[in-house]
C-alpha cells in the first residue's frame, strides 16, 4: 500500500460540486494553501467544484486560500467559529451581500463535533452556549443539576489538511500550532488528502510520535517548502 500521489491536480480531482470539505488550519497556521489553490485552479479551468460547504475555524484572510475560494464563488456555506479576522473583507462582503451562508459554531463545540464525526458519536452534550442564541432550537438536558446543550457530529466528504511529515501509510506529524483541527478533520472525512512538507518511508517516524495514524488518511502529496498563509497575506498575495 502506498498512499502517495504524484500531483496536486490528482489530489483534488475527486471533489464534486456540492461537497462538504473540511480544511485544516487556524488563521494561517496549518492552512493547506497548495491544495486549496489547486482546487481553485481546477474550478477556474472547469467550473467545478462549486456550491461547496467549507468547514474551518475561520472564513479566510486576504486573497489566498479559503478567502480566494470565496472570492471565486465556489463556496455556498461556511461552518466556522470566527469569520471575523485580520483581513476578512472577502467573506464579509459576500456574507453581507447574502451570497454565502454562515453556520456559526463555538470553537470548542466545532472541534468536538468534528471529533464526534470521526469517532462515531452522533451527538453529545456540552455546557457551551447554554442560554445563548447559539443554543436556540437545540435540545437541552439537565445532568446533575446543570443544563447542557445537545450537539450533533460533523462529517465531511473530503478533508484537505497540511502536515509536516507523512509516510506512505499516511502516518502524520504536524508543525507546532499548525496541528489545530487537522487530526480531527482527518478522522471525520470520507476522504482525507494531506499535503506533507516531507514525504518519508514507513518507519521514519517514531511510532510514539505519530499524531495522526494512517488509518485516517487516504492520500498524501508532498509539497516541499509550502507557503504560509500569514506570510502570503503580509506580502499582499492574491490567488490566482
Amino acid at each position: 500500500m502506498d498512499k502517495r500521489l504524484s500531483s496536486l491536480i490528482e489530489a483534488v480531482a475527486d471533489i464534486q460540486d456540492g461537497a462538504t470539505v473540511m480544511i485544516g488550519g487556524f488563521g494561517g497556521s496549518g492552512a493547506p494553501i497548495e491544495l486549496i489553490h489547486a482546487l481553485i485552479d481546477r474550478f477556474i479551468e472547469t467550473g467545478s467544484p462549486k456550491g461547496l460547504t467549507v468547514i474551518n475555524n475561520n472564513a479566510g484572510n486576504g486573497h489566498v486560500g479559503i478567502a480566494a475560494m470565496i472570492e471565486q464563488g465556489m463556496v455556498k456555506k461556511m461552518i466556522c467559529s470566527f469569520p471575523r479576522s485580520a483581513d476578512p473583507t472577502v467573506f464579509t462582503q459576500a456574507y453581507l451581500a447574502g451570497e454565502i451562508e454562515l453556520e456559526l459554531v463555538p470553537q470548542g463545540t466545532l472541534a468536538e463535533r468534528i471529533r464526534a464525526g470521526g469517532a462515531g458519536i452522533p451527538a453529545f452534550f456540552t455546557p457551551t452556549s447554554v442560554g445563548t442564541e447559539l443554543a436556540e432550537g437545540k435540545p437541552v438536558q439537565q445532568f446533575e443539576g446543570r443544563d447542557y446543550v445537545m450537539e450533533r457530529w460533523l462529517k465531511a466528504d473530503h478533508a484537505l489538511i497540511k502536515a509536516e511529515l507523512g509516510d506512505a501509510l499516511g502516518n502524520l506529524t504536524y508543525r507546532m500550532a499548525a496541528r489545530n483541527f487537522s487530526p480531527l478533520m482527518a478522522s471525520a472525512a470520507a476522504r482525507t488528502v494531506v499535503q506533507v512538507s516531507h514525504a518519508v518511508e514507513p518507519g521514519a517516524i517514531d511510532p510514539e510520535h505519530i499524531v495522526t495514524p494512517g488509518i485516517f488518511v487516504d492520500a498524501i502529496i508532498e509539497v516541499a517548502n509550502p507557503a504560509q498563509e500569514e506570510e502570503l497575506n503580509r506580502a499582499g498575495a492574491h490567488h490566482p
Binding site: M1, E201, P202, P213, G214, I215, F216
Partner: protein, 223 residues
C-alpha cells in the same frame, strides 16, 4: 459428523477476502490466526484495541516486550509504520467506521445478523472487552466459527438464545463447512465443502439456507 475444515483452514479462507491495504481487527483467540494467512502480495494493516496499528507478528519466545501486546495480551512486534495511540483514539477508529473488516468468533449467529459471542449466560464472571464496539463501525463484520457446537448443535440459528453482542451486525460467516452471507435477514449460501450435501448442511444449520446463485466449492489447502 462429516469432514470439516480445521480452524487454520477457516482462518485461511477468511484471509482470502481481505484486500491489500485493508484495516483489520481480529478478535482475541481463534480470529488472531487469520493474520498468518495473508495471501502473497497483499498486506493487511492490523488494529488492536489497546492502541497499536500496523503491528507485526509474534516475537520469538524469550524476545517478548510485555509493553507491546495485542488485545489478547499476547506479545506482538513493531513493523515500519506501526503507530501507538490511546484507547479513545483506538475506539474512534472502531466506532467511527474506519476499519474495513472485523473478524470475530461466535457462540451463535442469527440469520438476522445478530451475534452472541460474549456471554454464555448468568453463570461465572461476565466479560465483554471490545466485542460490542467492534460489531459496530467496521465496514464488514465477519464471523469465523465451527458450523456446530461441540455437542453438534447449530451455531447458525434463527434467533440467538444467548445474550447478544450486537444486533444485525454480521454480514458473512466462515464456518467449518461453508461460507454464508447474511442479506436481508436471510442466510445466503455462497460456498460449501464439496463433500457435504445441501441436505446435510441444512440439517446442521438452525435456519433456512437460501441459494441465490450457484454455490461454489469451498476448497482450502492442507494447513
Amino acid at each position: 459428523m462429516t469432514e470439516k475444515l480445521s480452524n487454520a483452514q477457516i482462518a485461511w479462507r477468511a484471509a482470502q477476502d481481505i484486500a491489500d491495504g485493508a484495516y483489520v481487527n481480529l478478535g482475541i483467540g481463534f480470529p488472531e490466526m487469520v493474520a498468518r494467512f495473508q495471501p502473497p502480495g497483499r498486506e493487511a494493516i492490523f488494529h488492536t484495541e489497546n492502541g497499536v496499528l500496523g503491528f507485526g507478528g509474534a516475537p520469538e519466545p524469550g524476545e517478548e516486550d510485555w509493553d507491546l501486546i495485542n488485545a489478547g495480551k499476547k506479545a506482538i512486534t513493531l513493523k515500519p509504520g506501526t503507530a501507538f495511540f490511546h484507547h479513545a483514539d483506538s475506539f474512534a477508529m472502531v466506532r467511527g467506521g474506519h476499519l474495513d473488516v472485523a473478524i470475530l468468533g461466535a457462540y451463535e449467529v442469527a440469520e438476522t445478523g445478530d451475534l452472541a459471542n460474549w456471554s454464555t449466560g448468568p453463570k461465572g464472571v461476565p466479560a465483554v472487552g471490545g466485542a460490542m464496539d467492534l460489531v459496530h463501525g467496521a465496514k464488514r463484520v465477519a464471523v469465523i466459527t465451527d458450523h456446530v457446537t461441540k455437542k453438534g448443535q447449530p451455531k447458525l440459528v434463527e434467533r440467538c438464545s444467548l445474550p447478544l453482542t450486537g444486533v444485525g451486525c454480521v454480514t458473512r460467516v466462515y464456518s467449518s463447512l461453508a461460507v454464508i452471507d447474511i442479506e436481508g435477514g436471510r442466510f445466503v449460501l455462497r460456498e460449501k465443502l464439496p463433500a457435504i450435501t445441501m441436505e446435510n448442511l441444512q440439517n446442521l444449520t438452525g435456519a433456512k439456507l437460501h441459494v441465490t446463485a450457484p454455490v461454489e466449492d469451498l476448497i482450502c489447502p492442507e494447513l
